[in-house]
Symmetry: C2
């Protein structure tokens, strides 16, 4: 039910983009016409590290995590993707990380070869592939800055990020587990939990459900964020 609602709210702007497309979104528009929607169950693998990167992906509904697993078993989550986000785009022939659905998701699956062929003819499309990768780079660099802060700074930055990417209001649905958050921020679930409790006690946030976050004092959060 919830998924169906999400599909509607997401696919409508998509169709609109397919008609009156601003130049800067032509890749998104043209690409989507080449894509086939697919359903992935919660925790289902979308692609694995070192697999051939024959496709790229766009989230229609649900949410996705990309990650690498280190030799000692630790898992580092590289990014979370929301409806509208494109992921799995590689310049080389293989995926550099794995991707899984965080919740039941619908994903547009797009043939890479078709996109590359288009890019070879259309400089505009080529530039947008480059732009997408540059955005990923910027995201990775911001993520690096996150990892050098202390636990509180990491959590606060993360929560503000989540809120910015959500509906815009103060209530945010967190589709990922505490383990996911920990693996994204480079800390244990215990520390994640403690920091959340601490922020709740400080009246900066509220957690009516484990997966529901309400920002109560953005100003205070931004101050802690420094």
């Amino acid at each position: 039910m919830q998924n169906l609602a999400e599909i509607h709210s997401q696919s409508q702007p998509t169709r609109a983009a397919g008609k009156g497309v601003p130049a800067s979104h032509s890749l998104t528009g043209q690409i989507e016409l080449m894509g086939a929607p697919m359903a992935f169950a919660r925790n289902g693998e979308i692609f694995g590290e070192n697999e051939p990167a024959d496709y790229l992906y766009k989230v229609v509904s649900g949410a996705v995590r990309t990650y690498k697993v280190l030799s000692d078993g630790r898992r580092q989550i590289g990014a979370f993707y929301w409806p509208g986000d494109i992921f799995g785009l590689e310049c080389g022939a293989e995926h550099l990380c794995s991707a899984e659905a965080i919740s039941d998701s619908r994903i547009l699956v797009i043939k890479r070869s078709a996109v590359l062929a288009l890019a070879a003819r259309d400089a505009d499309v080529a530039r947008q592939l480059w732009t997408l990768t540059a955005k990923e780079l910027q995201r990775a660099q911001d993520h690096m800055l996150l990892l050098i802060g202390n636990a509180q700074e990491r959590i606060v930055t993360f929560l503000l990020d989540m809120a910015d990417r959500g509906s815009g209001g103060d209530a945010v649905e967190l589709p990922m587990s505490r383990q996911d958050i920990g693996d994204y921020l480079g800390m244990t679930i215990e520390t994640v939990s403690r920091m959340l409790t601490q922020l709740e006690n400080a009246a900066a946030i509220e957690l009516p459900t484990h997966r529901t976050l309400i920002l109560r004092n953005r100003r205070a959060l931004r101050r802690l964020n420094a």
Copy 2:
């Protein structure tokens, strides 16, 4: 003196590439013809964060660091660049980090507008701009993985990296200070120093000079690295 020698050893392969250019290096070849060499003194600023990204850069001799400074004064070094490396390439209009010469350096300075114009006409050049950014992304992701390890793992990975990028032998010149290393690895200079001493005591490395590193036991290092 040393600089002149470096310029020679570096500029020769460059000239060779300008003549019989493999397709996959055409950007490097064509771009260099558009560049003007410039000298930067040790610690000299090459560009600053948020400045217009009108140029991109290629190290001829010396070494370069890119970094961001956080509001609380901490500095995070994003990458080190050696002769042959290209840096400062942005997809957007502004630089996202600052860049400084680590030692006295000669840098090829290339007009971005010329490169972009070329890319708009030549799909091959466009693809190589994309490839360069994708390489940066991969580097940033590896750097993230570095930051989640403990101090010993970070140092060991760093040293092995340095050795790989050096002449290939076991002796490596480290042009950067302990502070640079610390800001790259997200730790204090004291911890950097302690880890180096510890590795030296374990006979894994040797530090005849503060800036000279000799790997004595790569196997042991790789094991610590895990």
